[in-house]
Symmetry: C2
């Protein structure tokens, strides 16, 4: 068994027929593991979670991307999530024994081959970025699909692969290696969105909060409460318990308490072990001590 | 891939040559996974952790047991851990999709075949017990090897398999299916063993504590502190956070705090997810949401 990598491509569609065809293209590659997929009309976006040995994964993602570029027409695309193209972003994420470096190689191979096949310009971001600005996906995606043609000819926005002009129907694509991200939403005991926004600001990296954390508040009308939705970009540096305890502290300022929490998408085991280590003051817990993962490692090495 | 089962046989030896020969016998079966093993002179005991598909596991454990019965002489055995025979106890434990029922079938097959091969009497315990008394390993092991010959002829102590007389050098063996056990030790900020004993009693099932929990206090001289060593026999019923928080509460009565904790042996993933669910108030965390275990399940089903 070679080292496993995760890939979570985001496509700009929520049309069930298009979704089906993209998934069929991906799973036509033998050995790729489809872990999860979800899409909704509000964002008009499909998020797929895949894993597999590097070359197999690359092949599967390429087939899905080529299919998406063929079927999706960005000229008529509307959605609440910012996007630059049909194949909007293709992050490669290390798991188990794989590294950011090997993921970055995969991202570059993907960008090179996808742009050569479909004539779509490709930007590298996150750990694979070719300039400090490009590390930040918000910078790269500024102006979105509609503003792409005007920006792409500027020297500082020259694509890393492919032509310096937008593909008419597929726009542009962003790819790169990044660390595993944790999506974590916390529901608080208030229906006052203004309080939620204050708490979110207190946590958000760019507003004086924790490094590598993005937070936003939203009303959940059917529950009559406010939810703080967070992305934690490097849980090894900024662990989940720290985010949770700081949120609890900020909520207490407003006499608000935590009602419940949920993970958004999948969670890496390391982030969870860390929570147990903190709250139980454990000194010796790691994935080799977990029966299920110890067995899995040995099965993979057989 | 058939369903996986765990087995944690305990052998009455800490002689490195004997240990090596038992492990060689076990791992001579292709496909069995040796997860862990440890032994020490104080207990004069070897604990092996294995996993595998049921029939493979059964074969491996039988080979190890036959070798142990051949090499270990209980007439000269001394150790601090109670024991009834050379192959003292052979618990079968469900993991992933296997059940207590299938583990009980394996335990009965083991008992039948081991007693037939080596002429060693075998008792069933825990979930496989043939009477309520026998569920409790302490009852079955009462009198230990030295008292076995006198007790074994009593009607209520008739072995479930094999002859109603002790094997001269191998004694008797106990086997059965049980739920995954969690070994958890908590170090507290005192060197006063009397305080540790009060806290251990407050937690121990038989002394007014939590159901399915055994606790004992011991001095750790090199650290200058006291350790509460616990076994949690059904973490789904009595979760780890409840044990930990009750221990903290009882320690506070004596102005003692928790210094650190450690797992003794391996831990099931479910017990850890439960800790995260409690402390972060999470409502949607299970093993399908953990990247590493989701991948493992799909690899096993390929």
């Amino acid at each position: 068994m070679h080292e496993l990598v995760e890939c979570a491509p985001n496509f700009s569609t929520s049309d069930p027929v298009t979704v089906e065809k993209i998934l069929d293209a991906i799973t036509s590659v033998r050995g790729v593991l489809l872990l999860d997929h979800s899409y909704d009309d509000y964002y008009n976006r499909l998020v797929v979670t895949l894993a597999g040995e590097g070359r197999i994964l690359l092949q599967a993602v390429l087939r899905g991307a080529v299919k998406a570029a063929e079927l999706i027409d960005m000229r008529t695309h509307k959605g609440q999530h910012p996007r630059l193209g049909a194949v909007d972003v293709v992050p490669f994420v290390p798991i188990a024994d794989s590294t950011i470096e090997s993921c970055s190689e995969l991202a570059k191979s993907f960008g090179r081959q996808f742009s050569a096949t479909c004539d779509v310009p490709v930007y590298l971001y996150a750990e694979s970025a070719s300039s400090p600005d490009r590390r930040d996906i918000d910078w790269t995606r500024e102006g979105e699909y509609e503003g792409l043609e005007e920006r792409i000819s500027r020297p500082d926005r020259k694509p890393d692969f492919g032509p310096a002009r937008a593909h008419p129907t597929a726009g542009a694509t962003i790819t790169g290696a990044r660390k595993p991200m944790v999506g974590f939403n916390v529901n608080i005991s208030t229906h006052d969105l203004a309080i939620g926004k204050k708490i979110a600001r207190a946590l958000h990296e760019k507003k004086g909060g924790l490094v590598g954390v993005r937070a936003m508040a939203a009303e959940i009308p059917k529950m009559g409460i406010v939810q703080i939705g967070m992305s934690i970009y490097d849980y090894e540096r900024t662990p989940l318990y720290r985010v949770y305890e700081l949120l609890k502290l900020e909520a207490q300022r407003h006499n608000v308490s935590i009602v419940s929490s949920e993970f958004n998408g999948m969670a890496p085991l390391g982030a969870i072990l860390d929570v147990a280590n903190y709250y139980l003051r454990v000194t010796n817990l790691n994935d080799d001590r977990i029966i299920e993962t110890a067995i899995c490692k040995r099965l993979q090495n057989q």
